[in-house]
């Protein structure tokens, strides 16, 4: 009974897609640029294996694709064909009958040297064609990464865009009451698994950001009651202060080549933006106003920098050249704008907007046009981009005594999801695609 009703719903939704798919050119594809897309029904079968791992990998792949909002994994209970050999063509009519427009089959085996070998094939069921087939090797304890890499390959083949599932997020893990909140830097996979603490809770830590080129994070710590910007090597745990500045340094971020840290230096009442070259250790001052200039973020080509300033009264977003010349305000809407972050694609700047007692996450073009609010509420803050520039993560805080939690939202604004963490979490920063 359940199976029949599920199929009925799927068939009803997919009528239009079925008529298109009979043409010879029919290809399973998703055009992300269309706006609010109908998720693509996809069947992800358990990978063949002699233990639970095949089913676990399929589950991680399905969860990744589902969370993207672009795919609707078909309930396994509806499957008709039982895949016995993933290297043989499936019975396509068994999959089109349940409206699975795409089908994933695979196998995971143990190599002689102990490594895992996973292979998968992606089929276009209506065209009856293989779209891609790949295999990967890894250590057994790395199987979730294997699944994320497969999900990325499927996402890329069907959308034409790079995936973002084989990535990690560094964030601030918060615990304890609001008046005595303890904070630790933490890192996890983008789906919330494999959480690991990077610092103890002794010192207040804020705003971690990934290096684009190394296993390294820059962040702010109040260690020794001297609030400063630090570097942390993720593999060795080695830490160092960035520069020797005569005051609080904060709001750090790497340049796109990973060779510089850009940050604010506070001196008495005003904050200005500086860079420090990590090789030569030379520092360069980029702004000099009596205002608060902070939250700098480079464009992906490294040629320009967006930042926030209250030089005009309230916080607004500005763009300048990388040498500090040509500083221009780009935000002119109601309210104040802060925490601008340049998209890795270069096409948009994400921001936090404060207006009418609400805090919103939005995007605008680098010239300030085309502002769109993606989500709005009591308090949303601090967007960070997925490496493909299609999804943002941010933190949300309710009123009163509770704590913040992480959310993701895609550029359509329709697909918002909570990212589960073991305790309160804030200040997320998305890694580049892992290598």
């Amino acid at each position: 009974m359940i199976r029949h009703s599920l199929i009925g719903i799927m068939m009803a939704i997919a009528g239009m897609a079925m008529t298109f798919s009979t043409s010879a050119q029919a290809a399973v594809e998703i055009n992300i640029n269309k706006g609010n897309v109908q998720p693509l029904p996809i069947a992800i079968t358990d990978f063949q294996s002699n233990n639970d791992l095949g089913a676990q990998i399929a589950q991680v792949v399905a969860a990744d694709l589902q969370r993207s909002g672009l795919f609707a994994p078909v309930n396994k209970a509806a499957f008709i064909e039982k895949i016995s050999d993933p290297n043989k063509a499936p019975r396509f009519q068994d999959w089109t009958a349940i409206n699975a427009q795409a089908l994933v089959v695979g196998r995971v085996t143990r190599e002689g040297d102990g490594r895992l070998r996973a292979e998968f094939r992606l089929w276009d069921t209506y065209a009856g064609q293989q779209m891609t087939g790949q295999q990967f090797f890894t250590q057994p304890d790395n199987w979730r990464r294997l699944a994320h890499i497969i999900a990325d390959a499927i996402y890329e083949r069907i959308t034409g865009e790079k995936g973002y599932f084989d990535t990690r997020v560094v964030f601030v893990s918060e615990s304890g009451p609001k008046t005595a909140r303890q904070r630790q830097l933490a890192i996890m996979d983008q789906d919330g698994f494999n959480v690991r603490m990077l610092t103890n809770s002794k010192d207040l830590v804020l705003t971690p950001r990934f290096s684009p080129s190394r296993q390294e994070v820059t962040y702010m710590s109040f260690e020794g009651n001297q609030p400063r910007v630090y570097l942390l090597q993720l593999e060795t745990g080695q830490r160092e202060v960035v520069g020797n500045f005569p005051g609080m340094t904060f709001s750090p971020r790497f340049s796109p080549d990973g060779q510089k840290v850009i940050m604010s230096l506070q001196q008495e009442g005003n904050a200005n933006i500086y860079t420090m070259d990590l090789r030569s250790r030379t520092t360069t001052r980029l702004t000099s106003t009596a205002a608060i200039d902070t939250a700098p973020s480079y464009s992906p080509d490294g040629q320009r920098i967006t930042f926030e300033s209250d030089r005009g009264g309230r916080q607004q977003i500005y763009v300048m050249n990388a040498d500090g010349s040509g500083q221009n305000r780009i935000s002119f809407g109601d309210g104040s704008y802060s925490t601008p972050v340049w998209s890795p694609r270069g096409d948009l700047i994400a921001f936090t907007k404060q207006s009418g007692g609400k805090f919103s996450i939005g995007v605008m073009k680098p010239d300030g046009s085309g502002e769109r609010i993606l989500t709005s509420g009591f308090h949303n803050e601090g967007p960070t981009w997925a490496p493909n520039g299609r999804v943002l993560m941010f933190f949300r805080q309710g009123a009163g005594a509770g704590g913040p939690q992480l959310y993701s939202i895609d550029l359509t604004g329709y697909n918002e999801q909570m990212v589960k963490t073991p305790s309160y979490a804030s200040d997320p920063a998305w890694s580049p695609l892992l290598e």
Binding site: T179, L206, Q226, S251, S264, G269, N270, E308, H379, G400
Partner: protein
């Protein structure tokens, strides 16, 4: 002083380092939530603690009888008239007890973004330090530090709390930059 809970009080939690601070914070919380028009300048004026209960020249004396903190308007860093009275008393007390160095801690409420609030707290600390300097406190006795919005003393979901968190606190000793 009566401990009858007002609605605002019952929603509020306070951070306290010692009993004197508890008393002061409660007093200020009441003042901010229930009686904003006549904000008292110190717990002493409310009859809390009283001069007799703290050793003159002690940190308790400073906190209870002088008042260790001032408050700011939303998004503002200017030292209000009521805050000037508190700082005048702080300057007098620090002149009388010249062995103390101080750290001025600047804080912001939660209704702003993290980076901006760090700078705003620093601005408030700097404005406070500047005012104290104008009242004769030597600059080399004073350090500042900003905690942005990260160290609230009051937790609720309305302006009665936020106004308590927009503050500069003068800490005897302390460690800033």
């Amino acid at each position: 002083m009566s401990r009858t809970d007002t609605p605002a009080m019952s929603r509020m939690q306070t951070l306290a380092r010692n009993p004197a601070v508890i008393a002061l914070t409660l007093a200020l919380a009441l003042a901010g939530c229930a009686n904003k028009k006549n904000l008292p300048n110190s717990a002493g004026e409310l009859g809390l603690g009283g001069a007799g209960s703290a050793t003159p020249g002690s940190s308790q004396d400073f906190t209870v009888n002088v008042g260790d903190r001032i408050f700011f308007d939303t998004d503002s860093t200017s030292v209000r008239a009521d805050a000037q009275q508190t700082l005048d008393r702080q300057a007098q007390w620090l002149a009388r007890y010249p062995n103390y160095a101080i750290t001025v801690e600047g804080h912001a409420d939660e209704r702003g973004t993290r980076e901006y609030n760090l700078a705003l707290g620093a601005r408030r600390a700097a404005a406070t330090k500047e005012y104290l300097a104008s009242r004769g406190v030597p600059a080399n006795r004073m350090k500042t530090i900003s905690y942005g919005k990260e160290r609230p003393v009051a937790v609720c979901d309305d302006i009665s709390c936020w106004s308590q968190n927009r503050r500069a606190v003068t800490v005897l000793g302390g460690a800033g930059m």
